[in-house]
Symmetry: C2
């Protein structure tokens, strides 16, 4: 405990505070995501982190600095970038697996809360909004586009515009879930409901951009897979 086990080597500055630094960051992140920037006071942060207010100010330059570092930390912790593309020659199966992973991230309560908070502070903190967009929605879109490119390589898809198709894929997967989550009308998406919707959305997407003409006779009950 007293030892600076987590201290960075060659950093003689403060060998004692690393764990309090993390505690403050974690407590502040939760409070900011729950109550917003203006709805959270530094007293609350200090109390929730189990330290005094002055300790908070010794670790961070102020409320905005703390907020910015919280968002940056959270954004970088999520795995929006990079997703393993499953093998196989079934475009629907591959896209469904990828879509489930994407929506699992985007519909995660913490990510939804961050979306909400960043939007609320976007006018006052445009750099944070840009940071969130680049590492969040834009990173998701880039990853989706890379998945589509891989499926093109396998000869399973033929989209005219890969980037546009990636946005379209994500939007098709949103349904009415995202807006209702953002407005706090629902707290989570029922897995069965999400599953059914994603199957339908993926089927539509493949019908639009698939290489092969739809061979299935029964047009649409996707629960048969």
């Amino acid at each position: 405990m007293s030892g600076a086990a987590a201290a960075v080597a060659g950093r003689p500055g403060r060998p004692k505070s690393e764990e309090k630094h993390a505690a403050i960051l974690q407590a502040a992140s939760r409070l900011f995501l729950d109550q917003g920037l203006q709805g959270t006071s530094m007293d609350q942060v200090a109390r929730a982190a189990g330290v005094s207010k002055q300790t908070v100010y010794s670790h961070f330059d102020g409320k905005e600095d703390l907020f910015r570092r919280c968002i940056r930390c959270k954004v970088e912790s999520y795995g929006f970038d990079g997703v393993s593309v499953p093998a196989g020659d079934d475009a629907r199966a591959v896209l469904l697996a990828v879509a489930k992973r994407f929506m699992g991230l985007i519909f995660d309560p913490e990510v939804v809360a961050m979306h909400r908070v960043v939007m609320a502070e976007a006018a006052a903190h445009p750099r944070i909004a840009a940071l969130f967009f680049e590492n969040g929605p834009a990173a998701t879109q880039r990853t989706a586009a890379s998945v589509l490119t891989e499926l093109v390589r396998r000869g399973l898809l033929r989209p005219h515009d890969t980037d546009a198709a990636a946005w379209q894929l994500l939007n098709l997967c949103f349904g009415s879930f995202h807006v209702r989550l953002l407005l706090h009308l629902i707290d989570s998406v029922p897995p069965a409901e999400l599953d059914a919707h994603l199957k339908s959305a993926i089927a539509d997407f493949v019908r639009l951009h698939g290489e092969e003409p739809p061979a299935d006779a029964g047009s649409s009950d996707p629960r048969t897979s």
Copy 2:
């Protein structure tokens, strides 16, 4: 409601408050939409409306009441409900006209700002969030669904689930514009860009739900533009 209704001309006495009521509502709406609920003070509202703070409190029960009435007033002023369905037997043309009207509303800076503010306060004011959803996104979806129903009646479309297709249509029209507007990364959508995107989105939608069988499309590629 004491003397508000008596503000009609021809009534002597003291019917002086109706225009100040409106001035407060208008000034507060603008401030709330620009800065959020917590970012706006009652002093700012009073100063912007050209009245004293006590006058604000004599017209409204408090800050939250003022906020609620601002949102309600704005929400009801927008024409999310009801849209005239153009005549004709071209599903693309009808849907494009309708989509332009929808996106013109949803992408309007004031509506985007309201979206942002309501999301930010959704946790603390769930009734406001529900009100906004019902008169905003849900009303838009219902109207879209009624348009689709009309097109089904004309034999131009055959969606399996009209409600789901309505959400899908709106999501297809969003592209990446909505999230970028909400995050303040762009202030408006270039009309030419929006036009091109909507044409593509509508074409895709009709390809998914159009009456014409996609199996016969082998001879004539439906991808025209």
